[in-house]
Subunit: 387 residues, 2 copies
């Protein structure tokens, strides 16, 4: 089972003729409502407990209105809880850049479908890294927009204070076109200052950090001023802990009623995380909320007008499929260390194809201040066009 | 899905002709090995990770040698963790005495098959109540033998310091015949003293305690001397907490390697219990072990030679199927309060059809000192014959 699409009747809805995305095809992660089709959420007991939607999610409607044609709904980690893309109910969508590796998750099927060329773009969600990580592992462009910028109507929620809707593309031009349609503004001016996050590069594998250096040089050439800084002075691991605390507890609150009512089947790792989340104490959550406030302050200071920051999207390329949990857990923890700032602070982030390590793709990420999504798209376009 | 038998190819193995159980049929919970058939353990990811057995479990072989014919393998709660008999992968076996009620678990299919008359007896396992509870809910005779008395070879383990193999029958004569074959001794002499456990009757629903009174009177008539005592002076809830601590932690140790390797799919409630078990601290386990030692002392004192003790097997008849977890949890907790002494102390217990409450069966249980299993069988026979 390696199809990126969920089982069931085919989904195909033509886009509005003559729109700016006419001729493009897209898929939607099975967390987005498509009228007349159940939203599966990656879990066999979700759809039964929820009505079949009667209208499209905002992002689906927006792409249809812009002229893109919906060609399928894609596999996701269960209820978006997962970062690797291995779903024991629906299977692991193929990572075409490395068939023995995971595609990354939770927007696994969307990344897989785009990477395989089955569609031009695909909607995903990113709460703790679920667009950025599969973009890195599958060699794609991917965006996590500014938190709160897009209408998330009709999108299954996980942790509302971190949830975003994002998307993937194979090339910079398509990526920019889709971004313009969904963000509602064209690519903006290029930034003038670049911060290189030394702690983030330090946490990556040596080969990954080294492989990304040429792309960092190309990025540096776009700006006037480059400096090195710590992204997270208290430690990326401390930020990751705060984000895990806030996100897990919010996810528990989100899913508790469904769980109580349905006692759903889940992969052990997903159930375990929710079960432990339910035991998180209020003092721990208070600490995490303060850490979030500090992290937001840090990023506001780092990302002053005209400034972007770069870091490896993931500390290494895609791990092998089917690794046992004790091997996966530390890998997952390190991935989270490079992704946690997104959910914690809400700043936008674009991951671009950054390098290959041993033949496997890995992404370089660019952050900007809240609301500067279009600047990041401009950077992706500037770097992508020269390739 | 209400079949008591697991899906897959039919299982039928004729017993040795001319044995004492010739003419009887039996089924085995899918925790017992049957050569050439996978042992499913009630979980979709168990069999894949374990070889198909090449020999029968001891108890299966024993029944075959005694002449009984094996006619199927039965549904169980996942990896024997459950007390209600609702398995979301294999379905909930029918409770023929009350089709809208659970059959009880984890030996759900074995109880269901016997209660439906599909076989004469069936093997189950009882770690924390998994034979006694379904016997009560389905109106059957059921035994949890003295811990350590029977060979558990070829039986999937859960918590070795509490695990036992038990069985069910519809009538006292069949029950006594099967007991003789498996225990290796005939029914013994009747006891002379009865202890009525006042705390256990106090924890039962009023209607259940009242409905069981006539059977307690009949039981009293068999002995010379009747007195009332507390079963658990520190509280049945305290004993239940100790047993839950020991059993859950042992179950976690038992299943940890499989879980780490397979990341299996599980019902939320099962995964949650294991996830929380993994967090049980050593001081808590030490306290539970001391409580076990005290409980064993208490039962040795209560169950002096010639003495039996009676209590309601369950505090109420079978609950409805499909109740949400917040409704089920307190029910499950009360069931555990009346069952925990078994796993905690290892004494044998027989549940007999005790009464009906609102048309639903509920069992009366008889405990004896370790090794007095055959005395309990004699009591069941004496009460059963007069009906």
């Amino acid at each position: 089972m390696t199809s990126p699409f969920v089982p069931g009747p085919a989904v195909r809805i033509a886009g509005t003729p003559g729109g700016p995305l006419a001729g493009l095809t897209f898929a939607a992660k099975d967390l987005f409502d498509v009228a007349g089709h159940p939203t599966g959420g990656g879990n066999p007991d979700w759809a039964r407990a929820h009505p079949v939607p009667t209208r499209h999610a905002w992002a689906v409607q927006r792409l249809l209105d812009a002229g893109a044609t919906l060609i399928g709904k894609t596999v996701t980690d269960e209820v978006s809880l997962g970062i690797l893309g291995e779903n024991p109910f629906d299977g692991t969508p193929l990572n075409p850049t490395a068939p023995d590796r995971v595609p990354g998750g939770s927007s696994s099927g969307s990344a897989s479908a785009v990477a395989q060329g089955l569609c031009d773009t695909a909607l995903g969600t990113d709460t703790g890294g679920s667009v950025r990580v599969p973009a890195s592992f599958c060699g794609l462009y991917g965006i996590r927009p500014t938190h709160g910028r897009l209408d998330l109507g009709g999108m299954m929620r996980q942790a509302p204070s971190s949830d975003t809707a994002g998307w993937f593309a194979r090339d910079a031009d398509t990526f920019a076109r889709v971004c313009q349609a969904l963000l509602g503004e064209p690519a903006a001016e290029l930034p003038t200052r670049l911060v290189v996050a030394t702690d983030a590069f330090g946490l990556a594998d040596d080969e990954t950090a080294a492989a990304l250096r040429p792309m960092v040089c190309r990025l540096s050439a776009l700006v006037r001023d480059v400096r090195e800084e710590l992204l997270a002075p208290p430690g990326l691991s401390v930020w990751a802990r705060a984000q895990r605390t806030l996100q897990s507890y919010e996810a528990w609150v989100t899913f508790k009623d469904w769980i109580d009512r349905e006692n759903p089947r889940m992969a052990w790792s997903v159930a375990r995380n929710l079960a432990l989340a339910a035991t998180i104490s209020e003092p721990e959550r208070e600490w995490a909320a303060l850490t979030r406030a500090e992290a937001r302050g840090r990023l506001a200071w780092l990302l002053q007008p005209g400034t972007i920051l770069c870091l490896p999207t993931t500390p290494f390329p895609a791990p092998r499929k089917g690794l046992p949990l004790p091997v996966l857990s530390p890998l997952r923890a390190r991935i989270t260390c490079l992704a946690a700032h997104g959910g914690l602070t809400g700043v936008p982030q674009v991951s671009i194809p950054g390098a290959h390590v041993g033949g496997l793709p890995v992404g370089l990420s660019i952050l900007g201040a809240r609301g500067t999504d279009a600047t990041l798209v401009a950077v992706a376009k500037a770097l992508g066009c020269g390739r």
